[in-house]
């Protein structure tokens, strides 16, 4: 029944999605990359090639802020990989225990922070960690550790790590759920075969389950990477656009926002903002490519 004329129903089915997606996502994305090559001179747009990037990476006024934001962003990501994902895997491993009661209840409760907005999370933790209110020092005092307390969000050396841990607290539910789902797909026979060979308990986890869930850990890593290098909201709600104290919590998202919109005395600059967005695009693209071509193809998948 195939005819050579255009099948209009296919066009009708595809057109709305393609139009919205192209016009609002893909076109602005490439337009932003293009705008990074321009600058504004006397109210008109002038093509300057890669000058904005030279300024961003080389000009001492800009490059300090850029490398600071990039390094902070890397540290933010490292904390997530080292804390969030292991905790998520641990919780999932416990939850997937076949005889565990109340598993659904724990699962739903632990997922609650993930559904709350950054505004709630940011302010709630700001209040709890605040030395004025005294919940955190009070609780440390109760266990005799009051000397450990410091105004963590106000100290340059702790603020970023503290915020990264708050973000970990918020998002631990996602690796937990994905790993939990992966663990459920491991057939009972595989585990029983291991038991016959004397592999039980923790060693069954390390030797049988962990290798089988590696692809899911890969997916979680790349989701964490993209999420972290595009983060903004938590830092903005907790520390404001200036990402204080003294820019110690500045990450690429807040740096781009400040550059684009301006703050205090500095005027907003859409072209430098685009240059930073382009840098973020490059970083995310490199990460995704490393994952797709370097990691994903090497992970062995097992079909049961």
């Amino acid at each position: 029944m195939r005819t050579s004329r255009i099948k209009w129903h296919i066009v009708v089915f595809l057109a709305p999605a393609m139009l919205v997606y192209t016009a609002v996502m893909i076109f602005p994305l490439f337009n932003t990359l293009r705008l990074a090559l321009y600058t504004e001179v006397e109210q008109s747009r002038v093509f300057v090639g890669l000058d904005n990037f030279r300024t961003l990476f080389g000009d001492p006024q800009w490059s300090g802020a850029f490398w600071n934001a990039l390094w902070n962003n890397c540290w933010f990501f490292i904390i997530h990989m080292l804390v969030q994902n292991p905790i998520g895997i641990l919780l999932a491993a416990i939850l997937s225990h076949p005889k565990l009661r109340f598993a659904a209840l724990y699962r739903s409760a632990i997922f609650i922070p993930t559904i709350l907005s950054f505004v709630i999370i940011g302010f709630a933790w700001k209040l709890i960690l605040s030395p004025i209110w005294g919940i955190a020092p009070g609780m440390l005092d109760a266990v005799g550790l009051k000397f450990l307390f410091a105004p963590w969000l106000g100290k340059e050396e702790y603020a970023l790590t503290t915020l990264a841990l708050v973000s970990v607290w918020q998002f631990v539910g996602i690796p937990m759920m994905l790993i939990y789902a992966a663990l459920l797909t491991i057939p009972e026979e595989v585990l029983e075969a291991g038991e016959i060979d004397g592999i039980t308990g923790a060693s069954a986890f390390w030797k049988i389950k962990l290798p089988l869930i590696l692809p899911s850990i890969g997916i979680i890593s790349i989701l964490t990477f993209v999420g972290n290098f595009n983060a903004f909201d938590l830092i903005y709600t907790a520390q404001g656009a200036l990402a204080g104290p003294n820019f110690s919590t500045d990450i690429l998202g807040t740096f781009m926002y400040r550059t684009f919109f301006g703050f205090q005395l500095q005027l907003g600059d859409p072209h430098m903002g685009s240059a930073i967005a382009t840098a973020m695009f490059g970083i995310i693209l490199i990460g995704v490519c490393i994952y797709l071509f370097g990691i994903q193809t090497r992970l062995r998948r097992y079909q049961f």
């Binding site: 296919i10 089915f13 999605a17 659904a104 709630a124 631990v172 595009n230 995310i284």
Partner: protein
């Protein structure tokens, strides 16, 4: 069944860890909620105590309701979220059907083109999105937000839905064709009802990020009459930083709608994640 998996000590340790982590997860929410019902004095004197007859107060809520236009914000968030979900589901399902059902030139290419958007965050294009919205006069309208969230949600929606549409039996569709149904009727009458569970999953996945987003409301629609609940509470709390009663009440009011949505949809959400819809 082996000994290790029946060991009561292990089970107790498992419950211990889970209870500990559940407490860590819920503690901040709990502290905010109980303190929002207390007088200012009681908030500072004993932050961990439940409100009692003496310390109970609704002063914070009164301030919030008097000063902030939370019903308007709530309404805006509702409109944006519901409209975006509607378009993501409708357009996403239509495109998914076309990609899953018909063989035509460029099918794979279009699939890949849409898949681009799964990994690349839409925020990267913000500068040009704002420029476009300014030149088309859509700044400070809810339409701008709906467009952005629709575009943002479509790639994953098409990906998930086309997986499910491939499983719909060909015999059913062909039977419909023999009965003289048009392709549109086949899609809306036969296929859509069968992929309802997948549509629900997509809706739940999209709902929370849209509701909670701060970036686009802040940039595209910061005007008073278009503020979403997330942006509205952010601005309100920023203004009332020193009024702890008001801040705690505003936070509690922002928590409430999300919690209600979560209670209604949590089973759907968890089933969606664990059924491997995002693999």
């Amino acid at each position: 069944m082996n000994k290790a998996r029946r060991n009561p000590v292990n089970i107790a340790a498992a419950h211990g860890i889970l209870i500990l982590y559940t407490l860590i997860a819920l503690f901040p929410v709990f502290v905010i909620l109980i303190n929002s019902f207390k007088t200012r004095k009681a908030i500072f004197r004993d932050p961990l105590a439940l409100p009692d007859a003496e310390s109970f107060s609704l002063i914070g809520y009164q301030t919030v309701l008097k000063q902030g236009d939370f019903f308007l914000y709530f309404q805006n968030s509702m409109i944006v979220t519901v409209a975006s979900l509607f378009f993501v589901l409708l357009f996403g399902a239509m495109a998914a059907f076309a990609l899953a059902e018909y063989r035509f030139k460029g099918n794979t290419l279009m699939g890949l083109y849409l898949a681009l958007g799964i990994m690349i965050p839409i925020r990267i294009g913000t500068v040009a999105i704002l420029e476009m919205m300014v030149s088309s006069g859509l700044v400070n309208t809810l339409t701008a937000l709906i467009l952005v969230y629709t575009a943002q949600g479509l790639p994953l929606a098409v990906f998930i839905l086309s997986e499910f549409m491939r499983q719909v039996s060909d015999d059913l569709k062909n039977a419909g064709r023999i009965d003289g149904l048009s392709e549109y009727t086949i899609f809306f009458r036969l296929v859509l009802p069968l992929v309802k569970p997948a549509m629900a999953t997509v809706a739940v996945f999209n709902m929370i990020p849209i509701w909670n987003d701060l970036w686009f409301p802040l940039i595209l629609a910061p005007a008073e009459e278009t503020k979403t609940l997330t942006l509205g509470s952010q601005v309100f709390i920023g203004q009332f930083v020193t009024d702890w009663n008001a801040v705690l009440s505003a936070l509690s009011m922002a928590i409430l709608p999300v919690m209600i949505l979560y209670v209604i949809f949590s089973r759907q959400l968890i089933r969606g994640i664990t059924s491997g819809a995002v693999k």
